[in-house]
């Protein structure tokens, strides 16, 4: 566990020594800010629902960009060998990198707290859904980070890692949209698989165990697959 935390700290710091962090944060804030405020005054409602309804699609792009280098670059440079011959286990590497990714996503969300503050100044904001929304956003970010980490573990090319991660995350985001085209029996399955449905539940301020279990299982599956991908390399 100590090793995992050391790796996490190192990974988190290394985001900010390269320009990637700043570019990703800037793009994220620009996109969410624009889409949120472009229609905000038309609805004339003091809520952040618009912001949160967009978040899964934006995260499907942004999170794989955050995680793409985590393992792919290590394989490419060869530093993976130096890392793995330190007294660490696969779990330390996987968990450390995952936690760093989640911490970075949380840090990325901090500047968006300006939105609820602005909205609260303009009208009476219900803080319950906002708190739920941020909790859900971190859960969603963690699930996508686990998937992105797996995508990064299967290749030494960061672009490939990004595209694989994006494809999986985007598929999970949109899967409920195609549910209506599916045979009746599959609709429930596809709806259950959809990230969007579970996220919007939490963003309404309703914290249901089913949604928590869903995100936790996504994280677990992603991390376990990463673990297997790393083990197959020895």
């Amino acid at each position: 566990m100590r090793q995992a935390l050391s790796i996490c700290r190192k990974e988190f710091n290394s985001y900010f020594t390269s320009p990637i962090a700043y570019i990703v944060i800037a793009i994220f804030l620009l996109v969410t800010g624009w889409f949120f405020f472009a229609t905000f005054f038309l609805f004339n409602q003091a809520s952040l629902r618009n912001f949160f309804s967009l978040l899964p699609s934006v995260f499907a792009f942004v999170v794989p960009a955050v995680t793409m280098r985590q393992l792919a670059e290590e394989f490419n440079v060869g530093s993976y060998e130096t890392l793995l011959t330190l007294p660490v286990q696969f779990t330390d590497v996987v968990v450390g990198k995952f936690l760093a990714g989640v911490a970075f996503i949380a840090a990325m969300l901090v500047p968006t707290l300006a939105y609820p503050v602005t909205v609260a100044l303009l009208g009476s904001l219900d803080w319950g859904p906002v708190a739920g929304g941020y909790l859900g956003a971190v859960a969603l970010g963690a699930a996508f980070a686990a998937i992105g980490l797996f995508a990064s573990a299967v290749t030494r090319n960061q672009i490939v890692a990004f595209i694989v991660g994006l494809a999986i995350c985007f598929a999970l985001t949109l899967v409920d949209q195609v549910a209506i085209f599916m045979p009746a029996g599959f609709t429930a399955v596809f709806t259950y698989l959809a990230v969007d449905v579970h996220f919007q539940n939490i963003a309404k301020g309703v914290i249901d165990t089913r949604d928590i279990v869903y995100f936790a299982s996504l994280c677990f599956i992603g991390l376990y697959a990463t673990h297997l991908a790393l083990r197959s390399k020895t």
Binding site: S6, S14, E81, L84, T85, L86, P87
Partner: protein, 311 residues
Amino acid sequence: MICVENLTKTYNTVRAVDGISFNVQQGEILGLLGPNGAGKTTTLRMLTGFLKPTSGSIHVGDLSIADHALEIKKALGYLPESAPLYHDMLVYDYLRFVAAVRGMDAPRREDRIREIAGLCGIETVMHQPIGILSKGYKQRVGLAHAMIDDPDVLVLDEPTSGLDPNQIVEIREIIRRIGKAKTIIFSTHILSEAEATCDRVLIIHRGRIAADSSTVRLKETLGSRSQVHLTLRQADPDEARRELSAVPGVAGIEALEPADGQVRLVLACRPGSDPRADIYGRIRRTDWVLLDFHQETQSLEDIFRELTKES
């Protein structure tokens, strides 16, 4: 200290390492020698727990790598080939990270980092990103990384490859200095290096051990096939051959192209014999003029070439 038995590694259909067994004593400097692609790096990677052996066992002390990988990794410092480190990290940050992962307690870390920086000569680059360092400095940072926790065993994969002659001497100097107290295994394909630094060499060829002995003994046993070179004037080549082949200890004579009326001969000596005195005695009885008389023992270079010849 380290006991490797029947180590084998197969990649798909290729046998990179094929049943290697050896022991390393505490405090010994072992050189792993072999042409490129002989299986040196694969062997070291299995030794350091990076790769899983297809079969065979590795023990460090009483611990087996299959069951106690973590403990073994803790007792081991490893510098992979060409020191692949995190390019965007500062040297100091990197060493602190390694110290933390290795579980060194915080107060000790700072002192140790300062100490190791002095030992490896990297004080001046501590606050530069690793990516912009020259190859020599990168290698030294790699050495510092391997030694930071003062491990009992150091494993270095081609620590001097790609360095200029001055840097090679410096790195060798560091290895020798720390080698007094530690067990060191390092791989190289430069023979003079193994000769200069190691107590013992293991020559690996095509995944198998071609020779395993101390540097001195290797030269004695395999290098006993020495040759005596002679240059004579006022001598008849055929007569000289006849005369000298009668000397006990001379296995064969080869005549080189004569030049300026000189006769040049190469006398191959029988293993273990030194017929120089007899050869000289024989020459003194004639009226030949002796211009050159020297012995050449087979160097490690030749032994290496012979053992690893593509057949």
